[in-house]
Every structure is written in structure tokens, then in C-alpha cells.
């Protein structure tokens, strides 16, 4: 009898054990290790050789490269997030109407979420190719979309927006479908047109989803890596050197793991502030 009740007490913890084990080993522990390394100089193999206090942080904030990568990441995040949400919203609106074939349209709009950054990157590399690419052929130009510092970040942004459309579309169409129909009906009686209807009813009703998507998109944009690595390698002249690419370069090209960890902590702090915003929001809107 006593044995059974002891089992009852520990049983819930047994269910949690597997997940917790992985969280501790591959999330909390590396996180602590990242903080630890951010205060250290390391050997090229990543072992601590000496502790240097805040000097890694001082050198990253005085380094032109890192400050540039923060600016690039910021510009990139603003451009991708605004475009992804606006396009996702337009798609949700136009495919939420009562038209034939809307399921086909919806499948196509959601499809990019299944496509990997690597595949999207190689396809767009060819589309953007300066002499063979179809974009220059259609426009009749000879722009080096990926080799001209003026255009490279924009080109990487276009690829990312394309990949993001699916997820934004899915969340926005689900939100649209939860807007009470009677609001639209009474708007129709009052003679509100297509645009007035959406401006005064749809947008206020789905604003929690819009805000949720805003945060999610910013977090994703700040963690972008694959498209930069494949399409531009951070160039030309640092114009697409986003923060995660900068961290990767610092760690694996320059073997300065301490600096890379300090940069990771800065990334973490930025993302933490954004995530906290999101949790606050979710508490507010989940009834």
C-alpha cells in the first residue's frame, strides 16, 4: 500500500523527465555555457584559455562589423516583416470571399511554408542571376541583384517574404474566419463599401493576431541565416551581413568563440524583450 502511494507521488515527474532532460542538456546548459564563454578568450577549438571580463562585449560594440550587422538585421527585419504581413493580409482578404476555387487559391498561398530556405535560395539565385536570370530579362536590365550593395539586401528580403507568406496567410485567414458575421451584416445595411468594411471591422477585430504575427515575424527575421549564407555570404561589402551570419563568421571563420558568444547574448537579449512583449499580449487576449 505504501509503495503504491510513493509511486503516485513520483509518477508525474517521470512523465516530465524525458522532455526536461533534453531541455536541460541542450537548452539551459548551452545557454549557461554561452554566457560563460562570452566572458572568456578561447582556444581555436573552443576551450576557455582565460577570462577577460567584459572585454568581448566592449570589442563587439566598438567593432564596425558587429554594429553594421545590427543595422543590417534591423533593416532586413523591418522590410520582411512589413511586406510579409501586408501581403499575407491581402491574400487572406481576397481568398476569404465567396468565390469559386478558393480552396485552390488558399493551398497555393499557404504552400511556401513547406519550402526550405535552401531550395528557395537556389531558385531565386537563378531568377536574380545578372546575365541569365529571368528577372533582368523581363525588366530588360542588367542589374547584379545579388552583387550590387544597393540591391542585395532587397533581394534577400524578397526571398524571405516569399517564404513567410504561407505562415502569415494561415494565421490571418483563421483570424478572419473568427470575425463575427453579424458585424459585416450590419455594416452592409449601413451601406459600408469593401474598404470601409475592412478598415472599420476587420482590422480592429484581428489586431491581436496582427500583433502576434508582428512579433513572430521579427523573431524569425532576426534569426535568418540560410538564405544569406547561400545567396550572398553576407556580401557585397557587408550589405547583407545579418547578425546570425556575423556570429557564424566570428565563431567558425575567425575561431573567436568568446566574441561570437557575446554577440549571441546580445541577440538573445533583443529576442527576449520581444518574446516578453508577446507573452504579455497573449495573456491579455486569451479569454
Amino acid at each position: 500500500m505504501r509503495k503504491k502511494s510513493l509511486f503516485r507521488v513520483i509518477e508525474p515527474y517521470l512523465y516530465l523527465l524525458p522532455a526536461m532532460f533534453f531541455f536541460v542538456a541542450f537548452l539551459f546548459w548551452p545557454f549557461i555555457k554561452t554566457i560563460w564563454l562570452s566572458f572568456a578568450m578561447t582556444t581555436p577549438l573552443g576551450a576557455v584559455s582565460s577570462f577577460v571580463g567584459l572585454s568581448n562585449y566592449i570589442s563587439i560594440f566598438t567593432s564596425h562589423e558587429f554594429r553594421n550587422s545590427l543595422i543590417v538585421s534591423f533593416e532586413y527585419a523591418v522590410m520582411t516583416v512589413v511586406c510579409s504581413i501586408v501581403i499575407g493580409f491581402i491574400l487572406a482578404i481576397i481568398s476569404n470571399e465567396d468565390i469559386k476555387g478558393k480552396n485552390i487559391f488558399r493551398t497555393i498561398y499557404a504552400l511556401p511554408m513547406a519550402i526550405s530556405a535552401a531550395a528557395a535560395s537556389v531558385v531565386f539565385m537563378f531568377i536574380f542571376h545578372s546575365s541569365l536570370g529571368i528577372l533582368n530579362k523581363v525588366l530588360g536590365t542588367h542589374i547584379g541583384w545579388l552583387t550590387d550593395p544597393k540591391y542585395a539586401l532587397g533581394a534577400v528580403t524578397i526571398v524571405t517574404v516569399w517564404m513567410n507568406i504561407g505562415l502569415n496567410f494561415i494565421f490571418l485567414i483563421a483570424a478572419l474566419q473568427s470575425v463575427p458575421m453579424d458585424l459585416y451584416e450590419s455594416a452592409a445595411i449601413e451601406g459600408a463599401g469593401f474598404f470601409a468594411k475592412h478598415r472599420h471591422i476587420t482590422i480592429p477585430c484581428i489586431s491581436p493576431t496582427l500583433f502576434f504575427l508582428l512579433i513572430i515575424n521579427v523573431i524569425n527575421a532576426l534569426q535568418a541565416y540560410a538564405q544569406v549564407k547561400m545567396m550572398t555570404q553576407g556580401g557585397p561589402s557587408g550589405s547583407t551581413n545579418v547578425i546570425v551570419y556575423q556570429i557564424y563568421q566570428e565563431a567558425f571563420m575567425n575561431s573567436r568563440f568568446g566574441m561570437a558568444c557575446a554577440e549571441s547574448i546580445v541577440l538573445f537579449l533583443i529576442l527576449m524583450i520581444l518574446t516578453m512583449f508577446q507573452f504579455k499580449l497573449e495573456k491579455k487576449v486569451t479569454y
Binding site: E11, P12, F105, L111, A118, V122
Partner: protein, 271 residues
């Protein structure tokens, strides 16, 4: 009258957007069938069905090995996240115990740590354990996720509490209830989550790039990058390679689309 105009406009807009969004995939498919002459001509369509570029892609890089690796990794990751997620979610939703709230908060906290910010430390840990170039290295950091725990918890919370009470009265043990009653009831949610995890894992890029450097351990995404690096002048085999790695993910998406959409959006903000 006005309504009719709006409707036509909606059709036109939908068709334009659909074409723009799908065209990169179709273009990729077309280029993978083109001759060199067609590539230089710069058209959109290919005039023939031709598998030469696929053959060349397979010669340049061992895509079947990459696909095998990716399937092993993605399936194990999916299985791992669902098992660890379902078990933890069951405890959080169906059991009462000391420290439940604190542990739940700890779980929440894992969402605050983005994978890219700890990837260097994780890499060093894997190196220290001597696990570079193994399936274990590709799998274990992703074997559990807070997202899976939350999603499964959401599903369990939607089960009527009476079932659990009845089972308790009948003396049905927790594990038996979990395995033979609760899990079958949340199959749809589990399916949606599974597809999502599979897609994410299949599309992973940075982690497999870091922990593998031998060709026969690489995953499809890294393999595609390799192919692109090896073939800087001829894009056709690269496009063929893209099509090869896109097919499994597009298939998973189309088959699971409905569940995926309802599953992903139900746990989020209620607008």
C-alpha cells in the same frame, strides 16, 4: 452591379497573386528540364520532358544518401518531440503535483532561448562528446521542444474531464489511460503537430551544416548547398536537386494541409 465588379476584381487579384506565388516553384521545375540553349534563351517554359539534369544532379552529389539521412533525422526528431511532448503535456494537463506551476514556467522559459543564440555552445558540447558526424548529433538537440509540449497540452485540455474521472474510478492506471485512451483521442492534433515538426526538421540548415562535414552524413538542405557550390555555371542540375528535395515537403504539406492549419492556429491568439 457594384457587387459584380468587386467579384470580378477578386477573381483577377486571386489569379494574379496565385500565379506570382507559385511561379518560382514552376520555374524551378521548368529549368530542371531545360537544355542549355533554352537556359541562354531565357524563356519560362521548357519544351521537353528531360531527365538529364536529374541524372547529372545525382552524379554530382549522392542525393539518395542525403534523402536517407534527412528521413532518418526528421522522422526520429518528429517521433522524439511527440513522445516527450505528449508525456510532459499529459502530466501538465491531467495530473496534480507539487511544483507544477514552477515547472511549467520553466518550460515557458525555454521558448525565450532562441536556438540560434545557443548554437555555438551546443556545437561545442557535441564536439566534446565526440558526436560530430553522427545521427545522434543531428537528432538530440531537437528531440524535445516546448512548442510540442504546449500543443499536446492544448489537445489534452480539450478532452472532457469526465473520461479521466471515470477511468480513475475504474482503477485505470495513468499510463494505461494515457496510452490507450488519451493518445488515440488526440490523434488529429498529433498528426498536425507531427507534420509541422517534420517539415521544420527537414528544412533545418544551420545545425546540420555545423555538426556534419563528411559527405555521407549530410542532409538534403546542405547537400543542395554543396551542389550549388560545385556547379556555379550550370543551374539546371541544381534546380533538379531542388525539385528532388522539395517533393517530400510539398507532399507532406498537401496531405496534411487541413490538419496543419487548424492545429497550428487553434493554440494561438484568439482574434
Amino acid at each position: 452591379m457594384n457587387n459584380k465588379v468587386v467579384k470580378y476584381l477578386l477573381y483577377i487579384l486571386n489569379i494574379i497573386f496565385a500565379i506570382v506565388i507559385i511561379s518560382p516553384v514552376i520555374y524551378c521545375f521548368n529549368v530542371s528540364m531545360m537544355t542549355m540553349k533554352e537556359v541562354f534563351a531565357g524563356g519560362f517554359w521548357s519544351r521537353q520532358v528531360m531527365l538529364d539534369n536529374y541524372k547529372k544532379a545525382l552524379q554530382l552529389a549522392p542525393f539518395f544518401t542525403f534523402i536517407k539521412n534527412s528521413l532518418i533525422v526528421s522522422c526520429t526528431v518528429t517521433f522524439g518531440q511527440i513522445v516527450t511532448g505528449a508525456l510532459a503535456a499529459y502530466a501538465f494537463s491531467m495530473m496534480k503535483f507539487r511544483g507544477r506551476n514552477a515547472l511549467f514556467l520553466l518550460m515557458l522559459a525555454t521558448m525565450m532561448i532562441p536556438s540560434q543564440a545557443i548554437i555555438i555552445a551546443n556545437y561545442l558540447i557535441i564536439c566534446d562528446l565526440g558526436l560530430k558526424n553522427t545521427y545522434t548529433a543531428l537528432i538530440i538537440p531537437n528531440a524535445a521542444s516546448a512548442f510540442a509540449v504546449f500543443n499536446m497540452r492544448q489537445a489534452f485540455l480539450q478532452l472532457p474531464i469526465e473520461i479521466k474521472e471515470a477511468a480513475d474510478i475504474d482503477g485505470c492506471g495513468n499510463f494505461r489511460f494515457f496510452y490507450s485512451i488519451a493518445l488515440p483521442l488526440v490523434k488529429p492534433a498529433m498528426g498536425a503537430l507531427g507534420i509541422y515538426i517534420f517539415l521544420q526538421s527537414w528544412n533545418h540548415y544551420l545545425w546540420p551544416l555545423l555538426v556534419t562535414d563528411s559527405v555521407n552524413m549530410r542532409t538534403v538542405q546542405i547537400g543542395l548547398g554543396m551542389l550549388q557550390g560545385a556547379e556555379s555555371t550550370d543551374f539546371r542540375p541544381v534546380m533538379a536537386g531542388s525539385m528532388i528535395i522539395l517533393i517530400p515537403s510539398i507532399l507532406a504539406f498537401v496531405l496534411g494541409q487541413k490538419q496543419l492549419i487548424s492545429g497550428l492556429t487553434s493554440g494561438s491568439v484568439k482574434g
